[in-house]
């Protein structure tokens, strides 16, 4: 099990209150595989430094989690399939 920090940029067209439930849905992959989600931090709407998919804003979220490498890979794959997700980044905080 390793610690990961994940940043997800979501479509700004999403409503604020639907963010938490939809994130939880993604994170069930982690919890069912025996990992744990430590912290979900929703930064909210923020201007992008450059346009992504013709959008100038994005909803930033930062998630701290503990999971197996394969689980995280699967989570990242599922996030990238979803159209509401503009971009993701996964880092291991102990290595950076």
């Amino acid at each position: 099990m390793r610690r990961y920090e994940m940043m997800v940029i979501l479509d700004p067209a999403l409503e604020e209150r639907t963010i938490q439930p939809s994130l939880d849905q993604f994170l069930t992959v982690v919890t069912t595989a025996g990992g744990s989600v430590d912290k979900v931090d929703i930064w909210g709407r923020r201007r992008l430094a450059y346009e992504i998919d013709k959008k100038s804003e994005g909803i930033y979220t930062v998630i701290d989690l503990v999971a197996e490498p394969d689980t995280v890979k699967e989570l990242d794959r599922q996030l990238n399939l979803n159209e509401a997700v503009l971009r993701t980044k996964i880092l291991r905080p102990d290595q950076h």
């Binding site: 940043m7 940029i9 992008l48 430094a49 450059y50 992504i52 994005g58 930062v62 971009r87 980044k89 880092l91 905080p93 950076h96």
Partner: protein, 78 residues
């Protein structure tokens, strides 16, 4: 003949060593912005005054931040 004055540049101390920062966070755009020019380019070590290790950490952090659109790759301001 006046000799050209020998410049003694003031020795800069690495900001991160001074504050004993364990890791340079790519999410901390306020700090990282000090190390990019107004064009968005990463400042050289002789300008920023960072030590070898922290300059490398700053560079990776800036690159990570750029990927997540927290910092610009280029900015045409000016």
């Amino acid at each position: 003949m006046a000799k050209p004055p020998i410049r003694k540049p003031k020795k800069k101390v690495c900001l991160f060593c001074q504050e004993k920062v364990a890791r340079v966070d790519y999410k901390d755009t306020g700090t990282l912005r000090k190390f990019i020019s107004d064009r968005g380019k990463i400042r050289a070590r002789r300008v920023s005054g960072n030590c070898t290790r922290h300059q490398r950490d700053v560079a990776t952090a800036i690159k990570n931040a750029r990927e997540m659109a927290l910092l610009p790759y280029t900015s045409t301001a000016r």
